[in-house]
Symmetry: C2
């Protein structure tokens, strides 16, 4: 075993110890620590900005593109926003300790099912330094210890943020090892972390497909994945076409770079020509490139591109939209269950029976009737905060907030009952 | 890709299609199929027994021990018991379709969180042929398609049981591919199954540590593990020692071969000598070999063995018990959280505050106060059936029944609301 692996193992050991301590903190204690972390960020602002300048300089030297450099950049308002995010998490209800169920058995035993923290959570992420704080504090509020492994582009910024959280947290009594950051950029640390199932209860990769694939192939503990959103809107033959237009334009253009944005539009053949003439034109007017079939081409001749099979599985995250004319709702459901990513899909129709069929038969985390897919979001669901949108079906599915960062245990009591 | 891998991939594809069909079956349809499967087992009894004879013959030729051969053996009453198990599952409430939560948002959207099947579940198991039926029908009732991979020792019996389930199920309209069995004994099939995350949503290994380790190291989808139970009873200084004796004897001896049986007894030093004299003697009288420290040796001189470090992590599954005198409840909690397997642990005490501390601070799926660890069981919890006892913290923890074989989805409706 090399020194680096030993270092990660030692972090795991400390995290596990911290997790046992965290599980016994009261809500008031956790909130006081969170507020102190927020203050810590503000106090350490100069150090964070100085560290960030180093990362920005390296980014320019390494020729990172403007969008990536912008994601990396911190300034006083951004640091204040991160601190505000922590204060918001402090204000959220604490899921830990909630009684989920409680019952008696004829044998004389009493059973309580109670929410508890998961334990130790590994977070592997890419360039945005704010994730260091956002992920750590959500895990902390739900009573979990975290080991963070950020991207090398933000290594100085992440270190300074982790120091600030530690400084603030420890002032208010945060257990040692509750939030730890891996400070070595070596790629091997992802492997060491993913294999360390004796200490990690969960690992969450946040980033591009490559990063997620790497963690999935290595991990020996549960992984909660936030894969791509290939989201669909299906315009049914009984759709209110004005509504369909508004939903398609909103789902595609309100924020095209996110996972709940529309990527493929399916239109029933009976309304295809009239929808393309008006709704299709509205999408073009909003700057969207349409990639479709002969029906689309016929209506919007010369203004659209031709779609290929690859478009059905494309997550553009851009002002590009795949468009397909379908024969029936069955055709639409089949297309979505075949090519979709089980994220967020919508039907626009006046027919309640068809809507019910669609909502039941589409195998996705969030299914919408006459509503923009952009609502697939923890904040919009009223969760207060989210650590991501899970494309998994186990443990957490869809927008994932504090309760999804917990497990449960059974507490069984009696007056000496033994099994007969 | 070799032909065998292609065969497993084809099974995955069929299972995924079946899962979409299963998700739309009504409870009545599923129950009718289950009852027909039970009848199918009885109808096909002769074929099952003939297949079982082949397996038994091979087992004897390969020198399997008596216990293993007994686990393998089927006869008319055992087949009837398997069929009865299916009828009991038919009688259980259907978790699918349950509304878990429902709320409105100020934006005008309405959100329903609804229980849905997980999808496709792989089950990898060892010699007992009844698992073929038990696991498949629990997954079926909860709306999931299964791909079963049993041990080669029971390959003929498993095949005949799967044929009988298929015969009975298909008579009542079971979708094709709902229950599939891998009939090739090649070890590579475990790998192909574990890597097939495009079709499998979950894999459950049921068997020895070696099997579980193999699946954990290969799996690209969530694994729910049923590892060992290193269960503890802690006899506190304020324990009712008669009660402690009854609980220790029951937890250890009522069924020593199972995962919720007691493996390590911890005794507070203030009551150690008197407890060992009476409770320790009772355990000896029940045929238990005790492995302990100097205090135990002092009291039961010549009748006990000396414990080593290895005993703290031993899952004997036999009439052997590790015994340790501890200084305090902190010492007991620390021992259990260090050496235990997070399965089932008990405190015997009259002190409610200490009991509460123990129940909160022990990081195990089931924690007991004045109650035998043998109650850590789906049937005893009132779940009607269990697919196992999860030692994981994610998705399902502790006794795992039908609701734990489901996921959920969000259904969002409005009258055309878009995001501002």
């Amino acid at each position: 075993m090399d020194a680096l692996q030993q270092e990660i193992l030692d972090m795991g050991k400390r995290a596990r110890k911290a997790a046992l301590a965290l599980a016994t903190l009261t809500t008031a204690q956790k909130n006081a620590i969170l507020l102190s972390m927020a203050d810590g960020l503000v106090t350490c602002q100069a150090a964070i900005l100085e560290a960030n300048t180093k990362d920005l300089k390296a980014a320019e030297e390494n020729g990172l593109n403007t969008a990536m450099i912008d994601r990396l950049r911190l300034d006083a308002p951004r640091i204040e926003a991160i601190a505000d995010g922590i204060r918001q998490v402090a204000a959220l209800p604490d899921p830990v300790g909630e009684t989920l169920d409680e019952w008696d058995r004829p044998t004389g035993i009493h059973i309580v099912k109670k929410r508890v923290p998961i334990g130790v959570i590994g977070i592997v992420y890419e360039s945005r330094p704010n994730v260091t704080s956002d992920a750590a504090v959500l895990c902390f509020k739900s009573g979990n210890a975290t080991i963070l492994r950020g991207g090398k582009e933000a290594i100085h910024s992440n270190g300074a943020i982790a120091d600030a959280l530690d400084f603030g947290g420890r002032e208010a009594g945060m257990p040692e090892g509750a939030i730890q950051l891996i400070r070595t950029p070596d790629r091997a640390t992802v492997r060491y972390l993913s294999e360390m199932d004796q200490y990690l209860d969960l690992i969450i990769p946040r980033g591009g497909k490559g990063l997620i694939e790497t963690v999935v192939s290595l991990a020996r503990m549960p992984v909660i994945k936030h894969y791509d959103g290939i989201c669909h809107v299906y315009v049914d033959k009984d759709a209110d076409l004005e509504m369909a237009k508004a939903i398609a334009v909103n789902s595609k253009t309100q924020k095209p770079s996110v996972c709940n944005a529309l990527e493929t539009l399916l239109v029933h053949r009976d309304v295809a020509e009239s929808f393309y003439a008006d709704g299709g034109q509205a999408l073009l007017d909003a700057g969207v490139t349409l990639r479709g079939d002969a029906t689309l081409e016929k209506v919007l001749s010369g203004k659209v591109e031709q779609a290929t099979e690859d478009d059905w599985t494309a997550e553009y995250l851009d002002l590009i939209l795949a468009v397909k004319t379908v024969e029936s709702i069955d055709d639409a459901i089949d297309h979505i269950n075949t090519f979709g990513s089980r994220h967020s899909d919508c039907i626009v129709t006046r027919d309640a029976d068809l809507a019910e069929r669609f909502l039941n038969e589409i195998d996705s985390a969030a299914v919408f009737w006459n509503t923009s897919t952009r609502f697939s979001d923890g904040e919009e669901f009223g969760f207060g905060a989210e650590i991501g949108i899970s494309t998994d079906k186990l443990h957490a599915r869809g927008p994932m907030a504090l309760p999804e960062l917990t497990s449960y245990k059974y507490l069984i009591t009696s007056d000496g009952v033994v099994r007969g």
